[in-house]
């Protein structure tokens, strides 16, 4: 199979992507949302005319000098600032409507205390770690009967490498988008990463399953590389078709699903596309590489 044979090309592509991702992340970092840091987010729209951004900024200065304002759509603003009390919220809305001279409609308001934010961050990190651990254990368990020529926990290890690969790229994309378009990393983003995680493993397992089956029925004593190559080509159409249907559903959701889930869906689209790539071009070839290293 050409994919396994030319695996060095795909390793190089992924290596470049990962290095680029790390570079991007170390330069720009991530824009962390109020879900994790605590703070306030207000979204308003102006049915009449939207006042000038500088004017609104001045009005808000009294409440929080560090408040940041960004345009939302053609008729509204999104404001981010420190976390506030319900009384202060009234002041904010007053300021945003310039004391009633520019009537503003509140669309969305969230104020999250720093305690809750820190807890959300902790829980998010914990769930990512637990999901990874759970998956490695699960794979090690279901592949326990195939310990030759590659022991079952190595399948789990390869799945995790593929996972990290699939997560770091959408994270880096959000680092870029955060820097240029203000996209924030929030609890939804973490949820999206976890879904990518699930999907990526789903894809990788389907190929591994085939490898397992082919090893069992290996009567003509083919070598491991050939078996993996055959398994990849046997599952190739399925992988592409499944990802295609899922991506279709997601792209449609991105277009029609409304602004609330748009960023979330975008992360999923990137992650699932990368996940499909890695399950075909990285995961299975890595098994061959690991087997080769083991033989030396």
């Amino acid at each position: 199979m050409w994919i396994v044979k030319h695996r060095k090309i795909f390793y190089s592509i992924s290596a470049v992507l990962i290095i680029a991702s790390i570079a991007v992340l170390s330069i720009w970092g991530l824009k962390i949302g109020i879900d994790f840091t605590g703070g306030t987010l207000v979204e308003v729209s102006y049915p009449d005319t939207r006042p000038d951004q500088a004017v609104v900024n001045t009005a808000l200065f009294a409440i929080d000098p560090a408040a940041s304002i960004r345009q939302s759509g053609t008729d509204g603003y999104i404001v981010r600032m420190k976390d506030v009390s319900p009384e202060e919220k009234v002041d904010i809305l007053n300021a945003l409507s310039l004391n009633g001279t520019a009537p503003a409609v509140e669309k969305n308001f969230a104020s999250i205390g720093p305690v809750l934010g820190a807890e959300a961050l902790r829980k998010s990190i914990l769930s990512v770690i637990l999901v990874m651990l759970g998956i490695v254990l699960y794979i090690t368990f279901v592949f326990r009967k195939v310990s030759q020529p590659v022991s079952s926990w190595k399948y789990g290890l390869v799945a995790i490498i593929a996972l990290v690969h699939d997560m770091i790229i959408p994270i880096a994309v959000f680092s870029v988008l955060g820097n240029f378009a203000g996209y924030e990393v929030d609890t939804l983003f973490v949820t999206a990463l976890l879904v990518i995680l699930g999907f990526s493993v789903h894809d990788t397992i389907v190929v591994f399953d085939r490898v397992r089956e082919n090893i069992r029925h290996n009567v003509s004593h083919k070598n491991f590389e050939t078996i993996v190559g055959e398994s990849v080509s046997q599952t190739f159409t399925r992988s592409i078709n499944t990802s295609l249907t899922t991506l279709l559903a997601l792209v449609i959701l991105y277009i029609f699903g409304g602004p609330m889930t748009q960023h979330f869906v975008l992360v999923l689209i990137i992650g699932i596309a990368i996940g499909t790539y890695s399950s075909i071009f990285i995961g299975s070839p890595l098994l061959v590489t690991i087997e080769k290293i083991g033989r030396k």
Partner: protein, 488 residues
């Protein structure tokens, strides 16, 4: 063969009936979908309870009475279907847990009013000041507004009589001044304490403090032994009314502080719901076209079973789930995959049984991410079918007869379906357990239900439909119809 066809027809009728119920109950509004706050609009508040002064053994009791008090207040607020729940947030870094109160008020977008109604803890206190202390102070002071003077207020010493000893409170009007007054009736403990304090301190001043502010300080002329008192001050009617309400409905047993508040305007949610429905329909049509184009007759089978999948999911969202029923059904579905499809029927039976037990199931709250999870799960439901069809094709290429290829295709695809879905269930469960917000748990629950139902429809609907279209003889045409892709 005939048996399978009969079963398939039965399944279709069953699905159509359920679909009809889903549709009608939505149109007539008898059983609408349960929309989360982010879709219906409303207010979400998180309070931190300060349990530092409560002994650890009493915490859970106090928290549940806190919940009851807040629930009564919220109900007074006139919200339809409010949600009040307590949460124990166990943190790993420190030994002590944080106790929280989560309140959801659908349709309420004015946080300020809501917070006032909920959090108003009328700390009514009666303190005592000696007559000569007051006189000395009056002599040396020139300020006219004594009530706001900190030094003056500090002359009053605590007596231990508080608003929590009030058993009943009513709003009355002073017949001469027409000012509103709040009259109080103490419970037995309060009556005894109030009696002894007033008896021992005749001539002194009784300071009435509301939320730390001195509202009046009448002179004690007689011992008050009947446990009745009146508070007058410069009350407005509204202030007096809310004081009466708060005293009657009880003070909060635990001090609480607001740590997070969120309001979602109704417009955003509507956009998300409409967008979700639109996206769902378009996705379904496009996926259906793709499946029929690529997988031909089996593709049609996949579309049918996808329709069954969607109907079952929607019905489950309405009827509801519980952790127990999810686990039981999951076990049945895995048994069905391993041993016999009849376990699939057991799962349906168990679920049906649960619907007769009142309050055993609670409807699935659909959030914007829940809708995303549902649409995503459609993609995963298709995957099971694709896996089966691809294996079938391989068997056909190896020269199997069609019906043989179908059986083998199913048998071979099971392992992949099981393993890949099991990993999805692991992800979903962890998300559900550790999800910090309803947005995440809403996603995880729909995701788990979706994965389980997709496995169920794969064993039942896809299998039955496929077996019933199997041609008796393998001809060139039938082989073409069953096969897929560009190459035969």
């Amino acid at each position: 063969m005939l048996k399978n066809r009969a079963r398939a027809v039965f399944l279709i009728i069953f699905a159509v009936l359920i679909g009809y119920w889903v549709y009608v109950s939505n149109i007539e509004g008898t059983r609408p979908f349960h929309l989360g706050l982010d879709l219906s609009g409303g207010t979400h508040l998180v309070y931190q309870a300060d349990v530092s002064k409560i002994s650890p053994t009493d915490i859970s009791d106090s928290m549940s009475s806190l919940r009851d008090v807040v629930e009564r207040r919220v109900n007074l607020f006139g919200v339809s279907e409010p949600l009040v729940q307590t949460e124990e947030a166990v943190s790993l870094s420190s030994a002590d847990a944080a106790y929280r109160l989560i309140i959801e008020l659908p349709g309420v977008t004015n946080i300020d009013d809501a917070v006032k109604a909920i959090g108003a803890t009328p700390r009514l206190e009666f303190r005592l000041a000696k007559a000569n202390d007051i006189q000395t102070f009056n002599a040396s002071s020139t300020t006219s507004t004594l009530e706001e003077n900190g030094a003056f207020m500090s002359l009053f010493k605590e007596t231990g009589i508080t608003g929590s000893m009030v058993s009943r409170s009513t709003l009355e009007f002073n017949p001469t001044t027409k000012e509103p007054v709040v009259s109080l009736a103490f419970n037995s403990e309060g009556r005894d304490l109030f009696g002894s304090v007033t008896k021992d301190n005749i001539g002194d001043f009784l300071g009435i403090f509301l939320d730390g502010k001195l509202i009046s300080y009448p002179v004690l002329r007689d011992a008050i032994l009947d446990g009745r008192a009146q508070i007058s001050g410069s009350f407005t009617i509204d202030a007096a009314k809310s004081l009466v309400r708060d005293l009657n409905y009880g003070a909060l047993p635990i001090p609480i502080s607001l740590i997070s508040s969120q309001t979602i305007g109704p417009s955003l949610g509507q956009v998300a719901v409409q967008g979700g429905i639109k996206a769902g329909i378009i996705s379904f049509v496009i996926i259906a076209l793709f499946l029929i184009f690529w997988y031909r007759l089996p593709g049609l089978v996949a579309v049918l079973s996808l329709a069954v999948y969607i109907i079952l999911n929607l019905a489950i969202f309405k009827i509801g789930v519980s952790p127990a029923v999810i686990i039981l059904c999951a076990i049945c579905i895995f048994l069905a995959m391993k041993f016999h499809w009849i376990f699939g029927l057991v799962a349906v039976g168990l679920y049906a049984l649960m619907t007769f037990i009142p309050d055993a199931l609670s409807p699935v709250t659909l959030t914007s991410t829940g809708i995303a999870a549902f649409i995503l799960s459609i993609g995963m439901a298709v995957d099971a079918n694709i896996l089966i069809f691809e294996r079938m094709k391989e068997e056909l290429i190896r020269g199997s007869e069609i019906s043989d290829a179908m059986h083998k295709g199913f048998a071979r695809a099971w392992l992949s379906i099981r393993d890949s879905n099991a990993s999805s269930i692991i992800t979903g469960t962890i998300l559900y357990v550790f999800g910090s917000t309803s947005v995440i748990t809403g996603f995880a629950l729909v995701f788990i239900i979706g994965v389980l139902v997709s496995m169920f429809t794969a064993i039942t609907a896809s299998r039955l439909f496929l077996y019933s279209i199997a041609p008796a003889k393998t001809t060139k045409l039938s082989k073409f119809l069953i096969s897929n892709g560009f190459k035969s």
